[in-house]
């Protein structure tokens, strides 16, 4: 059972402007990048299930030179709004680390 944390050297999340949240998933080498960058565990459906994102709006862009994939989705609640728990979305990546990818 392989988790995302096992094939990445760095994973982070952050706000991208007030209305988007973006995840940067840096794989631990070319092999991992090629094998997992478009895996189902990083699909729009996964972000819908983990974060409540609208799967139609999830953007996924691979950056081969950096052996990373960038995944972004519109915030589901307003930044700083009534139920805000993570203004900068900087802690959201943690739940992704334990996603089983293989």
């Amino acid at each position: 059972m392989t988790k995302l944390r096992d094939v990445c050297r760095h994973v982070r999340s952050k706000q991208a402007g007030p209305f988007w949240i973006t995840f940067d998933v840096f794989f631990n080498g070319r092999e991992s990048f090629e094998r997992y960058s478009d895996c189902a565990a990083l699909s729009p459906a996964q972000f819908a299930s983990l974060y409540g994102a609208d799967p139609e709006r999830v953007k996924r862009i691979a950056v081969p030179d950096l052996e990373m994939v960038k995944i972004s989705y519109p915030r589901t609640t307003p930044q700083g709004g009534m139920v805000e728990r993570d203004m900068h979305a900087g802690q959201q990546y943690v739940r992704l680390l334990d996603v089983v990818i293989d």
Binding site: A16, K59, Q92
Partner: protein, 470 residues
């Protein structure tokens, strides 16, 4: 035929945000290396809508004054201009005036008289409604068409500046430019563009430098960077001698706080770095070539901040073993009891719309998602109570009504009432309003200066506090 740009334009980006801690020795190094301008932003939307809605800075006055003093001394000595964008964190008129007053104070203390340009870009609601009625305001994803109600809900609205207003101020001989909300990139890219450098490398240099030393290997070592834009590309190096920029650290910065790693929408075009090549120069500087500027019809992005309901918070520390044995169950039972208590003790016609939440710090406060079964409890949790209501008074009243339950509610009924660990008296903290960004739209413009007001401070007239010349 277009004349090829010769030479290079060197830009000091002294810090990620004015007030973050400019280093005098870094400025000296940059100037000695031939820098022709010092450019930095002083804010962003990252920290939320409160700063635009309230017209307040996030960085404190002393820190901003300290940084600006170092820069203005360097300006007076060397003659290189200073460009500051997104003044006072949000770049509204109040934020810009706050920064202007600091600059004037410093000028008087130093006994210098630089020519200071102020570029205002706050918009009144009627203007925005008119532009919208003309069909000139378009939504950016995930938003839809703008309506008047949304415009009316905003406390302040700004249009983010591109390079053109900065070029106008530079043309007019500004020594210091203090600007309202600007794209981070434009603040840094404008000067190379003004000097005739190609737009692709200039904008890309701006994006690379927007957070100062963040594009280097160690983002905590030093504060600023030096950019050098020429006919075919640009180079970047950290101002701290101990730090390095690498092709990876520089190219990875294009990912930062950006939903598309290759394309960045700016006023009047798109910065496209899909074909950019990053080359190590000497172990601490990087050369970038292949950045492209794709001109588009001119737009400015609008940002609006609205103030909403009010919140009151309370915090307790809990080590009670009965609570820690069943944190999720305790959370649900207490929350239910707090809602019932609120509805019982405050008449519904007074209460109005309200919301209560409990966040269990140490357990799942950041996500609100219940941890997997079998997750071991921590030795203690911090439990945050948040009441939201239409007025501060009502949020306070709800907190007062809930206080005894929040303080004493047992996890197991029938035992002696526990008393959880309050750290303060009074226990409730009126937190103020909720602030949210409302607009995510661009306005189409024929004239890049249509929504911009340029003013000048006359420092020669010492009898006046501040004189603005329109």
């Amino acid at each position: 035929m277009e004349q090829l740009f010769e030479g290079c334009v060197k830009v000091i980006v002294p810090c990620g945000s004015l007030g973050a801690g400019v280093r005098e020795e870094e400025i000296e190094y940059g100037l000695a290396a031939g820098a022709q301008v010092i450019a930095t932003d002083a804010g962003s939307t990252d920290s939320g809508a409160a700063y635009l809605a309230l017209g307040k800075s996030k960085n404190n006055r002393g820190a901003v004054k300290r940084d600006l003093t170092i820069l203005m001394k360097a300006q007076a000595k060397s003659g290189v201009p200073i460009i500051v964008g997104t003044a006072g964190q949000a770049g509204g008129d109040l934020n810009l005036d706050w920064t202007r007053d600091i600059a004037v104070e410093i000028a008087r203390e130093l006994g210098v008289s630089p020519k200071i340009a102020l570029i205002y870009c706050e918009q009144d609601k009627q203007t925005i409604k008119r532009l919208n009625a003309q069909g000139r305001i378009k939504p950016l994803p995930p938003h839809t068409e703008l309506d008047d109600e949304t415009v009316d809900s905003c406390e302040h609205i700004v249009a983010a500046l591109g390079v053109e207003p900065f070029l106008a101020a530079l043309d007019a001989g500004a020594d210091i430019i203090l600007a309202g909300r600007s794209t981070d990139t434009a603040v840094i890219g404008c000067y190379p563009i003004w000097k005739g450098a190609p737009w692709g490398p200039s904008w890309h240099a701006g994006k690379t430098g927007e957070c100062g030393v963040q594009c280097a290997v160690n983002p905590t070592l030093g504060s600023g960077i030096l950019l050098s834009v020429d006919a075919n590309g640009f180079e970047v190096e950290p101002l701290s001698q101990d730090n390095q920029c690498t092709p990876h650290s520089v190219s990875a910065h294009m990912l930062y706080e950006n939903s598309d790693p290759f394309r960045l929408l700016e006023p009047g075009g798109i910065l496209n770095v899909a074909d950019a090549r990053y080359t190590d120069l000497n172990g601490r500087a990087v050369r970038v070539e292949g950045s492209r500027w794709e001109p588009m019809p001119y737009t400015m992005k609008l940002e609006g901040a609205a103030a909403g309901m009010y919140q009151t918070i309370m915090l307790v520390g809990v080590q009670d073993p009965d609570v820690l044995k069943d944190i999720d169950g305790f959370h649900d039972r207490l929350l239910d009891a707090l809602y019932k208590r609120t509805r019982q003790s405050i008449p519904s016609e007074e209460l109005g719309e309200f919301h209560i939440s409990l966040r269990m710090y140490g357990w799942n406060a950041v996500t609100g998602v219940k941890p997997a079964a079998g997750t071991l409890p921590p030795p203690e949790i911090g439990m945050l109570f948040v009441a939201t209501a239409a007025t501060q008074e009502m949020a306070n009243t709800i907190a007062h009504a809930c206080n005894p339950y929040f303080f004493h509610y047992p996890s197991v009924m029938g035992k002696e009432l526990p008393s959880y660990g309050f750290a303060f008296t009074p226990a409730d903290i009126p937190r103020g309003q909720i602030f949210e960004f409302k607009l995510n739209h661009v306005v189409q413009l024929e004239d890049p200066l249509e929504l911009v007001r340029l003013a000048w401070i006359d420092l020669s007239d010492r009898s006046m506090a501040v004189k603005e010349l329109a």
